[in-house]
């Protein structure tokens, strides 16, 4: 009788749970703010300005959005890698941190649907690091050159006429789509609608080159990544070409294939978590 070799044990990283921002406990939200405050105080390539600038200005603009059909659609894997590296930088400040996600399908009745964690100007007697950020002069100079005349401190104009947040029904319809690239295209459209909803006419979230400087950008993209994760659970075996899987995602040291398993990246999604320490 042939023996079946046991699979070698592949160590899996400890899972960090990305939680809904509306369901964070007070200590969890305080940790998020501590991490953002810490990273915003750093001026080198560990800091907030560096990470926000990777998406847009200062040049080069690295973010990947869907373009022509003849080119690989890298929207979802590139932004997953982006969020991963940003979250790792946050965890260098607060080791237990996981980036929260903003469920924009369940808008709060106040603050024009922006979660209070992000809408409050002050938190704990200090400026709320999730409310706004001052953008570096190099990025602002290049933005001005391109014709974007926005102030150097991020602002939002949520809920203007002509904008709407996606609904839970729209997300449910997306999750039923079987083809990955169709799903990605449709999800990217919902993603764009949220950018325009938050940024409005004169807010930074409406502009690709400056959007990532707004702290709510990261919670929005965590929601996008979460929807992709839910889609992956429903459609576990999509067919990808080797070329697609081997595509690099600059400036990150990851390929598309390396972004497909969030467990291997050390995180997953939960609505909320709580824990108790057992001593003895």
């Amino acid at each position: 009788m042939p023996t079946i070799p046991l699979s070698p044990r592949v160590p899996r990283p400890r899972i960090r749970w990305r939680r809904s921002v509306d369901k964070l406990t007070a200590p969890q939200l305080a940790h998020v703010r501590e991490a953002y405050t810490g990273i915003q105080a750093i001026g080198d390539d560990r800091g907030y300005q560096h990470h926000a600038g990777v998406h847009g200005l200062p040049l080069p603009i690295y973010c990947q959005h869907t373009i022509g059909q003849q080119f690989a659609n890298l929207f979802l894997p590139w932004h997953r890698a982006y969020l991963y590296f940003f979250e790792r930088a946050l965890r260098d400040r607060v080791p237990t941190l996981a980036q929260p996600w903003w469920d924009w399908t369940a808008p709060a009745p106040t603050n024009a649907a922006i979660p209070s964690a992000y809408a409050d100007r002050q938190a704990g007697g200090a400026a709320n690091p999730l409310y706004s950020v001052r953008i570096n002069a190099q990025a602002m100079n290049q933005a001005k050159q391109s014709g974007i005349n926005l102030p150097p401190t991020t602002r939002r104009q949520p809920g203007l006429p002509g904008t709407a947040l996606p609904t839970a029904d729209e997300v449910a319809q997306l999750l039923a789509i079987g083809d990955y690239f169709t799903f990605s295209n449709q999800l990217e459209d919902l993603h764009g609608a949220v950018h325009v909803y938050v940024g409005g006419d004169t807010g930074h979230m409406s502009q690709v080159p400056l959007a990532a400087y707004d702290p709510i950008f990261w919670a929005h993209h965590a929601m996008i990544d979460r929807i992709w994760r839910m889609w992956q659970l429903r459609h576990p075996s999509p067919s990808f070409t080797a070329d697609y899987l081997n595509t690099a995602l600059p400036p990150f040291s990851l390929t598309v294939a390396q972004t497909l398993d969030v467990g291997a990246m050390g995180y997953d999604y939960a609505a909320g978590t709580t824990s108790v320490r057992v001593s003895g």
């Binding site: 040049l59 373009i67 022509g68 203007l160 993603h191 006419d201 502009q207």
Partner: protein
């Protein structure tokens, strides 16, 4: 353009033709180098504008969103899209401003059509404090109606 209205387009499938489970309008060559906006698509409503309700009775079929780059931050030529990015020896990622393809799923609206011809209207809608606005921000090269069995 600040609004696109097609000529009357003959539908590929008329009554009694092959069934379909999904219909897409595929917009090709969509420019995303400028402002961000929502492009609303209407069937057989050539007068649709930024204030037209997004409801079936007004011919609303769906939307796509352009998340725009807001202009060119580089020097002269920086934002010119190279003409031959598909060359087999060019392993760089494509230029970020390469025009986009935007599919809009219009199955329900397509099924509601009762005539063998359709007019497609596309309205770019920008947010505005005094109400939705329309500007000269919509540029695309083609639109194709595709049905799937």
């Amino acid at each position: 353009m600040d609004r696109y209205v097609s000529d009357q387009i003959e539908l590929p499938f008329t009554e009694g033709g092959p069934p379909f489970t999904r219909a897409d309008l595929i917009f090709g060559g969509v420019d995303h180098s400028g402002a961000s906006f929502e492009a609303r698509v209407f069937f057989n409503n050539p007068d649709a504008d930024e204030r037209t309700p997004t409801e079936a009775e007004h011919g609303y079929a769906g939307r796509f969103v352009v998340f725009g780059h807001g202009g060119c931050a580089g020097e002269e030529g920086h934002c010119d899209v190279p003409p031959d990015q598909n060359a087999s020896d060019d392993l760089r990622l494509p230029h970020p401003l390469t025009p986009a393809t935007k599919p809009v799923v219009v199955t329900d609206a397509f099924k509601r059509l009762t005539e063998a011809r359709v007019t497609i209207t596309v309205v770019p809608v920008l947010p505005g404090a005094d109400g939705p606005r329309r500007e000269d921000v919509l540029f695309f090269e083609s639109v194709e109606l595709t049905t799937y069995v």
